[in-house]
Symmetry: C2
Subunit: 111 residues, 2 copies
C-alpha cells in the first residue's frame, strides 16, 4: 500500500503513539493501526513482532504476559519513560519533515 521506506519511518512512531493511550498486545496493534489508517496500513505479524522485540531490547517498551480466562496468553506492551521521550523526538522530526514537504509541495502548513 505505502512504499517501503515510508513504512519504515512510520512504524515505530505509530506503535509508540498507540501505546501512549495504554497497554496493547501485538495482534491488537495490527488491528488498531489498520483501523486508524482506514485500512491503508495492513501490518503483517512477521513485520511487527521483530519491531516490538527491538523496541523492548532498546528499553522503549516493556512487556508482560497476561493469562486469559479461556487459557490463551497475550503479551501486553506498555510505554516506558524512555519510550515517551523517543516518541517525542520522532514526533518532532516528523513534524519538521511534514513542514518541509508542505512548503515544497505547496500544501497547507502541517502545524
Amino acid at each position: 500500500m505505502f512504499n517501503k521506506e515510508l513504512i519504515g519511518a512510520s512504524t515505530v512512531p505509530l506503535i509508540l503513539t498507540v501505546l501512549l493511550s495504554g497497554e496493547n498486545y501485538g495482534y491488537e496493534l495490527i488491528k488498531k493501526v489498520k483501523m486508524l489508517s482506514n485500512g491503508k496500513l495492513e501490518w503483517s505479524e512477521a513485520m511487527l513482532y521483530p519491531v516490538l522485540h527491538r523496541l523492548e531490547r532498546d528499553g522503549f517498551i516493556h512487556s508482560k504476559w497476561h493469562q486469559l480466562e479461556n487459557g490463551r496468553k497475550r503479551k501486553y506492551y506498555s510505554l516506558s519513560d524512555l519510550g515517551r521521550s523517543e516518541l517525542a523526538a520522532k514526533k518532532s522530526d516528523w513534524i519538521e519533515m511534514m513542514q518541509l514537504f508542505s512548503e515544497l509541495w505547496n500544501l497547507k502548513p502541517a502545524v
Copy 2:
C-alpha cells in the same frame, strides 16, 4: 539531525522534487536540500551518490556529463517520465501518511 528512517523515506522524494524544477548535479542537490531544509538536512556525498545511481539504474532519472570551461566536469541529472510518476506516487503516499499523523497528534490537517 533527523532519525535514519525518516531520512530514508524522504531522500528520494526530495531529490525528485528538486529535479522537477530542472536538471541538477549531485553536489548542487546537497546544497539545495540543505538550504531548503534550513540546514536541518545535511546529506553526505557518500549517501547521495549511491542513491542517484540507483535512481538512474531504475530509470527515474537520466544523467549527462557537462564539461565546464574551467576543465571541471559535472554530472547533471534530470527527471524522466517514469521519475515523474514515481514522484507523484511517493507524494501521494506522503500526504496520506501526513494526514494520518496529523489526526493522531491533533495537528492541523496537512492538506
